[in-house]
């Protein structure tokens, strides 16, 4: 089945859409951050599966192993995960401050409070 | 209060007479001066006089007619 051949891509796409849906449709700021995380996770998955070679082993030189997975995407994603964690942390910190100032974390209510008189 | 000499009716009447006299002189002067025009019309006798009088009348009346259409109170844009 050609369409299902690259099932990893399908997983990525589905995760990405779930993430976007949360971003677009949810007014709760924390849910938005969760959506953002799912979206990012889908991209991490994309990179990781790109580097995986079927039947390949971890890239450690050892006797009798000739097929290795590509380690570079995995290394890159380590960096990206760090960035993602930092973003989440910052986002949550902002939500805390927003809650302190507005006493709500619903986007609509915040927008209503901000509307120019 | 005595009116300024220039605006007394007597002076004004005198000014009209002087002016008509000057007008006559300018036209008559043409008798002594040969005019070389580029066109025929400008060689006619007293061309400046009749042409000036005529065109001015046309312009004033033309302005009057146009004015009837485009004049507005001067507070129009305020």
């Amino acid at each position: 089945m050609e369409v299902l051949g690259h099932f990893n891509y399908w997983v990525v796409v589905v995760l990405m859409m779930i993430g976007f849906y949360a971003l677009i449709a949810r007014g709760n700021l924390i849910k938005k951050i969760v959506g953002l995380n799912i979206f990012q996770a889908s991209v991490f998955l994309l990179f990781i599966t790109l580097g995986k070679v079927t039947g390949g082993s971890a890239p450690i030189i050892a006797e009798g192993i000739t097929v290795y997975s590509n380690p570079l995407p995995h290394v890159l994603i380590l960096t990206a995960i760090v960035v993602g964690v930092a973003t989440t942390a910052l986002g949550l910190a902002l939500v805390v401050r927003i809650h302190e100032s507005y006493s709500t974390i619903e986007e609509n209510e915040i927008a209503d409070m901000d509307r120019e008189p | 209060m005595e009116k300024h000499w220039l605006v007394r009716p007597k002076t004004i009447r005198l000014l009209w007479i002087v002016m008509l006299g000057v007008l006559a002189v300018t036209v008559l002067l043409q008798l002594g001066i040969e005019i070389h025009g580029e066109f025929h019309i400008d060689e006619t006798f007293g061309f400046g006089a009749w042409y000036g009088l005529g065109t001015c009348a046309v312009m004033v009346i033309g302005a009057k007619i146009l004015g009837a259409v485009i004049k507005r109170k001067d507070t129009y844009y305020d």
């Binding site: - | 025009g37 004049k71 129009y76």
Partner: protein, 562 residues
């Protein structure tokens, strides 16, 4: 080294310095700088040609080019700056004086420009300087008229800039020289020039904005913008036939509107259009004599129009009134102002022995020499019309007519001195035309004072005078303004926009099912779409923003794969 300095820079530097010096130094400065400019212009000499070039924006620009026409205009501009400064010495605020000097300096910059880029740069600075002069009229009307003025000149600048860049792109040359109006870049350049010349239909900015300036401000305004436009037309488009028709239209437009006008300074503003029309016709005819005539007429015009506006400015300054219907009988208490005003009026009407006679005759004569009978007849009729609308109407209604009961004295000494200086110049040039003729770009073989000429002109003018007094009942002053093209952007366009905006609003209200109250004004309707909480500026929730991202991404992908 000093000879390489762009002469306009002296006045511009003065403009920068004026706000920062004390009143005594300022007075000395504003009188000395124009003289210094004149000395620099003539100290360097015509043979200097293009003095230097410098790299700018990847082109070699030549900001200083000495050429006869430019020097003639620069000379009269310096004289005007001096006379205007003398007139404004006590009444003008520092900001107004600075604006006027920026304006005058950039006008001189234009006439010395050796290339189109320098020309454009000074052209735009001139627009800024003149707008600031209008704003210094310091009334609410001045502010609004100044904004309209600025927008029109900004628009003119846009037209000119598109033309210039198109021209430079097509020819690869930035030299400012004779051009043929044969392709759209040149047409746009010509249009840009004509907007500044006050050509119809974009002429109403002159009577709209100029009379809102201060008494001294309008003296400056009358001199530079339209005359630099005449200068660039003279250098760039001599002999362009379309200009004859444009000019003739300007002439009669000016006369008719001036005849209908009640405000004395608006009368004079319309007569600027009329006089520039004569110059434009001369440029359109394009023979050596016609071009000489246009240049000489510009020279003479700046001085007598300055004089007329000084006279009108003095009346306004002393009485605070500018409507003919409020004025009259002032000759009794303002004899110097009245006399000088009459001399200016005679000069603009080209009475023999005044400067207007020896310059305008050249244009009329060149039309005759080219056997353009219709043009000649129209010009002759127009000469009579000038006497009618400016030569008699202005002094008659302001200084004579009925007695308004006003008895203001003549203005302060500096204003009187400026008027007497200019009145003397009008007469001197009229009696001794040779020095002016020597300045003209081409050698002059024209003899103004022939018997036939003088008699013909006297007949024409005196009989128009007769017509004026005979038709006086038809010219009763009314408290009116006349609609002009500016009606389109002051009344019609806003109304149309308001109408469309209202319709759009109804539409959107209908679609949204809203019951928002109808607010008629344009601003409100526009703000509906563009305001802080408007559709296009609203702080969108994050979700909708992300949605847009996806739309653009999808568009990109569709585009890419199709």
């Amino acid at each position: 080294m000093i000879s390489g300095l762009p002469p306009g820079l002296i006045l511009i530097a003065g403009a920068v310095a004026i706000p920062f010096v004390g009143p005594t130094i300022r007075k000395g400065l504003v009188l000395a700088l124009p003289v210094l400019t004149l000395a620099l212009i003539w100290g360097t000499g015509i043979d200097a040609g293009t003095v230097w070039s410098a790299p700018f924006m990847g082109y070699a620009v030549s900001p200083v080019r000495y050429a006869p026409t430019g020097m003639l205009f620069a000379t009269v501009f310096s004289i005007m700056a001096f006379g205007g400064a003398l007139f404004a010495l006590r009444s003008a605020r520092p900001s107004e004086m600075a604006a006027a000097f920026l304006y005058a300096g950039s006008a001189i910059g234009v006439v010395f420009a050796g290339d189109l880029i320098t020309l454009f740069v000074f052209w735009e600075i001139m627009a800024i300087g003149s707008t600031m002069v209008v704003w210094n009229g310091s009334s609410d009307a001045a502010r609004r008229a100044g904004l309209r003025y600025a927008l029109i000149h900004f628009f003119g600048g846009i037209v000119l800039m598109i033309g210039l860049i198109g021209h430079i792109e097509a020819t690869g040359s930035i030299t400012f020289d004779v051009m043929q109006a044969d392709a759209w870049p040149r047409w746009l350049i010509l249009a840009g020039f004509l907007i500044n010349a006050g050509a119809w239909p974009l002429s109403s900015w002159i009577p709209d904005a100029y009379p809102e300036a201060s008494p001294a401000g309008m003296v400056f305004l009358s001199a530079f913008t339209t005359k630099t436009a005449v200068f660039v037309l003279l250098v760039g488009f001599p002999g362009t036939q379309a200009l004859i028709y444009v000019g003739l239209f300007m002439i009669f437009y000016g006369i008719i509107y001036a005849l209908l006008e009640n405000d004395m300074r608006r009368i004079l503003a319309y007569s600027i259009v009329n006089q520039v029309g004569f110059m434009v016709v001369g440029i359109g005819i394009g023979t050596e004599m016609a071009l000489n005539g246009a240049a000489a007429h510009a020279f003479a015009h700046i001085i007598y129009k300055g004089l007329l506006l000084m006279s009108a400015g003095s009346v306004l300054y002393m009485t605070g009134k500018r409507k003919c219907s409020d004025l009259g009988g002032l000759f009794q208490s303002m004899p110097i102002t009245a006399t000088c005003g009459i001399i200016g009026a005679l000069a603009i009407s080209a009475f023999p022995l005044t400067s207007g006679f020896i310059s305008k005759s050249m244009i009329n004569q060149s039309a005759a020499d080219q056997h353009m009978m219709v043009v000649w007849l129209l010009l002759t009729a127009a000469s009579a019309g000038v006497f009618l609308h400016a030569g008699i109407k202005f002094p008659w209604f302001v200084f004579f007519q009925k007695d308004s009961g006003l008895r203001p004295p003549d203005p302060p000494w500096n204003m009187r001195a400026a008027m007497i200086f200019f009145a003397a110049l009008c007469l001197l040039i009229g009696v001794f035309p040779q020095p002016l003729y020597a300045l003209l770009p081409a050698p002059v073989a024209f003899v103004p004072y022939t018997g036939a000429h003088v008699v013909g002109q006297l007949q024409l003018l005196l009989f128009s005078g007769l017509a004026f007094f005979l038709l006086l009942p038809l010219m009763k002053r009314t408290l009116t303004v006349s609609l002009d093209v500016d009606w389109l952007y002051r009344r019609a366009a806003p109304a149309v926009i308001a109408w469309i905006a209202r319709d759009l609003r109804e539409l959107s209200d209908g679609v949204l099912g809203g019951t928002r109250a109808q607010v008629g004004s344009i601003i409100d309707s526009m703000a509906h779409y563009h305001g802080p909480a408007g559709l296009l500026a609203r702080t969108l929730p994050t979700g909708r923003t992300v949605f847009w991202v996806l739309v653009i991404l999808a568009a990109f992908l569709v585009f890419n794969f199709s």
